[in-house]
């Protein structure tokens, strides 16, 4: 299923001033669309930005829980950067019907396939 959505240079957007972290994600789906789970701990509802630009789906996650002032790192395993994920869709999506919700740092996205590409059952006359 992962071949359906191809990951394309997700790090390209990162600049030295604002490094971005590519979140872990999972793609599942049924005949009528795709379900994507993006793991972005530290991001609340207001911090998610989803944009569909042609066949590119850009998912941005801004950390709601920034590191408080005065905290010094003793050990950091993962960067405290914001998230960015770029996915290339090779199936037409009905952009108006994209549904998204975020809960406990996991973004659930449903991308319904456009009517034109949905599988069709043809009745034999």
């Amino acid at each position: 299923m992962t071949q359906v959505l191809e990951k394309t240079g997700t790090r390209q957007m990162a600049t030295p001033e604002a490094p971005l972290r590519t979140p872990y994600y999972k793609v599942g789906g049924k005949e009528d669309g795709f379900d994507i789970k993006v793991y972005m701990p530290g991001v609340a509802k207001g911090g998610v930005d989803i944009r569909l630009d042609g066949d590119q789906l850009n998912i941005g996650g801004t950390r709601t829980h920034k590191l408080p002032e005065g905290w010094r790192a003793i050990r950091e395993e993962l960067p405290q950067a914001d998230y960015h994920l770029k996915l290339r869709l090779n199936v037409e999506i009905d952009a108006d019907k994209i549904a998204a919700n975020i809960e406990d740092g996991v973004l659930n996205l449903h991308l319904p396939k456009a009517e034109a590409v949905k599988p069709r059952k043809i009745a034999v006359q």
Binding site: P41, R72, R75, E77, G105, V106
Partner: protein
């Protein structure tokens, strides 16, 4: 009777030597994110960070998708353990995944005053330093 000086096998100069080794070990074992999640549902290994300010040590764990009531936090002998069981629903089937992560924390923590908070997949454990560990300004008489 012979007196033999004991050689510490991995003596580092850092005061947090043990702690660092612990993390080093943890990282080589678990690798970083992409590898961590090869397994079906989140999370088998949990990323952990350790911070401090003047009054507290803070441990942060990334637990996206986990519910607050599924998490257990325990501190024993300077080892902080976060563990739990996560029930994931996928379609009609329900799967259960257990997770556990331990980190060693510095000495000098007031164990009675530890607090934990879980928000948006991020668990923060605040461990107040005992009076001795807090920086003190000394006035010259």
């Amino acid at each position: 009777m012979k007196l033999i000086r004991y050689q510490y096998p991995e003596l580092t100069t850092s005061p947090l030597g043990d702690l660092e080794r612990f993390f080093e070990h943890a990282l080589t074992r678990f690798g970083r994110w992409p590898g961590l999640f090869d397994v079906e549902e989140f999370p088998h290994e949990v990323a952990a960070d350790l911070y401090e300010d003047d009054a507290n040590f803070y441990a942060r764990f990334e637990l996206p998708g986990i519910k607050k009531k599924e998490i257990d936090v325990e501190l024993e002998n300077a080892v902080l353990t976060v563990s739990g069981e996560h029930k994931a629903k996928e379609g009609d089937t329900e799967k259960s995944v257990t997770f556990s992560r331990s980190i060693s924390v510095p000495d000098g923590i007031d164990t009675n005053k530890i607090t934990a908070k879980f928000e948006d997949g991020l668990l923060t454990v605040a461990m107040p330093k005992t009076e001795i560990r807090k920086p003190k300004a000394i006035t010259i008489k």
